[in-house]
């Protein structure tokens, strides 16, 4: 029980840390932050329920005004900005990522968490994300999807990294990868 509380809190904090860490430039020239990878990681490592709780904890603290979202954003503004859809979709993304990682127990950790990370962190996350952008930017869904495509290459890399990390963590600290316990 204590381990659950602590792992959830620490992984939640890691979402903040990965967001506050300096941005990385990737090929397409768009700076990406590791924050959404933190979301995927919460799911693939902690499992569906606990991963979602970790993300909810993170969001609750952001709502309180702590500037934990990448770029030092925080407070209620994050729920009305163009990325609000993504922010609201974060817990769901973690849940789905974790659910798949656990459900696909029979296959290798890397592949199950890859499927989880891509499904949760990209497919499931982009739906509310695109809807949110459409509302706030006043564009149609198809138009906004074009904009969202900018994030796609970065998110794919993050999903692969997330899967690799989950696999390594499972090898080194199997009892702490709660999604596969």
């Amino acid at each position: 029980m204590e381990k659950n509380i602590v792992l959830i809190s620490l992984f939640s904090a890691s979402i903040a840390v990965l967001g506050l860490a300096p941005k990385v430039m990737i090929a397409s020239g768009v700076p990406i932050t590791a924050q959404s990878m933190g979301i995927m990681l919460c799911g693939t490592v902690l499992g569906a329920k606990r991963g979602a709780l970790a993300v909810l904890l993170f969001l609750a603290l952001c709502a309180l005004g702590l500037p934990l979202l990448s770029g030092g954003r925080g407070g209620l503004g994050i729920f009305v900005s163009p990325s609000a859809g993504f922010v609201i979709g974060f817990p769901l993304a973690a849940y789905v990522a974790g659910w798949l990682t656990t459900r696909l127990k029979m296959i290798n950790v890397f592949y199950s968490s890859l499927v989880g990370a891509i499904t949760g962190g990209i497919f499931v996350l982009y739906i509310p994300g695109i809807i949110g952008m459409s509302i706030t930017l006043g564009k149609s869904i198809s138009e906004v999807t074009l904009i969202a495509l900018i994030y796609l290459p970065g998110d794919c890399i993050k999903a692969i990294l997330c899967a690799a990390l989950t696999q390594t963590l499972f090898k080194l600290r199997p009892t702490n990868v709660l999604s596969r316990v």
Binding site: E2, G65, L66, L76, P82
Partner: protein
């Protein structure tokens, strides 16, 4: 790691949080119904003046908080220049700035404890879901205590990487960071357990 607050106390601080949130909710939804550029511009000006009246420092601070919206504004500018729909573009940009700055106004003028109380009230009816409140408050405490420690660790790992590779690390230090988190989790959990004698 401090919450976002205005650099100086303002008159808004004394308005009860619930009222501020209700006004915010109405204003935000209302703004979406404004379709004429003229009306939007007037409201935009009014809110900008309001910020200005709160003080020059507050105004500067609020503008700084809008910086993360720049990429989106840039996209909108290019988009609408390309589609020759300048009025539409301006409408959207002003709406964006208005909504986010109003939300920020509430965030920065409300005490963390007040917002925490409101979150508590919202979660209240969910208590039937059997949520352990002590677990939640412990989680928040551990989060707040360990985030600076983790940031520090991230910083040191970056330095250690840099001094042996000459470049700043990106993804390479994430594994050692998360590993240390997991090891810390074991220790902290044991320390918690050793003092929570008869808790679950």
């Amino acid at each position: 790691m401090l919450a976002l607050r205005f650099p100086k106390p303002t008159a808004l601080d004394n308005v009860p949080a619930t009222i501020k949130l209700l006004i915010l909710a109405f204003a935000t939804s209302g703004i979406f119904f404004i379709e004429t550029l003229g009306t939007m511009f007037l409201i935009f000006l009014a809110i900008a003046m309001f910020h200005f009246l709160l003080g020059w420092q507050i105004f500067k601070f609020s503008v700084k908080l809008l910086k993360p919206l720049l990429p989106f504004i840039a996209i909108m500018v290019f988009w609408h220049l390309y589609s020759r729909d300048l009025t539409g573009g301006l409408l959207i940009i002003m709406r964006l700035l208005l909504i986010v700055s109003l939300a920020n106004l509430v965030t920065c003028s409300t005490k963390t404890s007040e917002i925490a109380e409101i979150i508590d009230k919202i979660l209240g009816p969910m208590r039937f879901l059997n949520m352990n409140t002590q677990a939640i408050s412990l989680s928040v405490i551990i989060f707040i205590r360990f985030t600076p420690i983790m940031l520090e660790r991230h910083h040191i790992l970056s330095l250690a990487y840099k001094c042996r590779s000459g470049r700043r690390p990106s993804w390479q230090i994430i594994l050692p960071l998360i590993l240390s988190i997991m090891d810390d989790a074991d220790h902290v959990a044991q320390s918690l357990k050793s003092r929570s004698t008869f808790r679950v």
